[in-house]
């Protein structure tokens, strides 16, 4: 293994989207950082707030319309017109979730617990909270706080520190 001269010490991961695959991309990156002993902070904003809102975190969906990478089981392209039918989005989302469960990727709430158990911190964006009329009580209990952008940047500094935007 090549030795990094300046190994990563801190990552701040911003999640601004609420689709399953976007939220999981952010969670996997964050949990992976925690597992490596890297200081980790997550900042959820706009539709990303769905992932840490009690009411929505267990029912995230993947888009079946306007998602050109979506395939049918077997690999054929997924027809966009099929995606508009009632229940299709829920079905595809359920398949995504079962596929992830098979490779030991936990549901969102458990994933967040894994991240905080290892010392990772979870924050919500104040501006998006105001926009969606959400209160701190609406959020998952493990959320450390609601921050303005400025407060987020105050926590994002230091050498060997990176910000990742999903």
């Amino acid at each position: 293994m090549a030795k990094e001269e300046y190994p990563l010490k801190k990552v701040c991961i911003i999640c601004a989207k609420g689709a399953i695959e976007d939220v999981y991309a952010a969670l996997v990156m964050a949990n992976g950082a925690v597992m490596e002993g890297i200081e980790t902070k997550m900042f959820f904003t706009f539709f990303g707030l769905d992932a840490i809102t009690k009411k929505t975190m267990k029912s995230l969906k993947t888009a079946t319309v306007g998602n050109p990478a979506l395939r049918m089981p077997g690999g054929l392209p997924f027809p966009t017109l099929l995606g508009i039918l009632p229940g299709v989005e829920a079905g595809v989302s359920a398949m995504m979730k079962s596929g992830m469960a098979k490779i030991d990727i936990p549901p969102v709430d458990e994933f967040l617990e894994m991240i905080t158990a290892g010392g990772g911190e979870i924050y919500a964006c104040k501006l998006a909270m105001d926009m969606f009329k959400l209160k701190k009580e609406d959020l998952w209990d493990g959320v450390s706080g609601v921050l303005t952008v400025g407060e987020f940047y105050e926590r994002a500094g230091g050498p060997q520190s990176q910000i990742i935007f999903v």
Partner: protein, 103 residues
């Protein structure tokens, strides 16, 4: 191939110090590797090490989550037992290869 001597036994290791042959592992070796990681092993540590050695012997993928569901410790406890990078640290001390898992 690199070699290292722990507790009077010479073992084969890779360039990162992971044992190449888990069958060369003994508890005495574990104690010595742990010392290099500034860890004093307790019974609880050994329970975790036994669990992950067993998982590895069965060819199962090791994840933090599986250790958390082992009944030995929860994930928080695992991070406390092996501070920093628990999965990598525990694998090294348990004499198994570096885990190739993203979760």
């Amino acid at each position: 191939m690199a070699q290292k001597t722990y507790a009077g036994v010479t073992v084969d290791v890779n360039e990162e110090g992971y044992l190449l042959n888990p069958s060369q592992w003994t508890k005495e070796i574990a104690v010595e590797i742990a010392k290099e990681e500034n860890l004093e092993l307790t019974d609880q540590h050994f329970k975790v090490l036994d669990f992950i050695r067993e998982k590895h012997a069965k060819g199962e993928t090791l994840t933090i989550r599986s250790v958390g569901n082992s009944g030995i410790t929860d994930i928080k406890g695992f991070y406390q037992l092996f501070p920093g990078a628990p999965m990598k640290k525990a694998a090294k001390i348990a004499g198994i290869p570096k885990p190739a898992s993203c979760v």
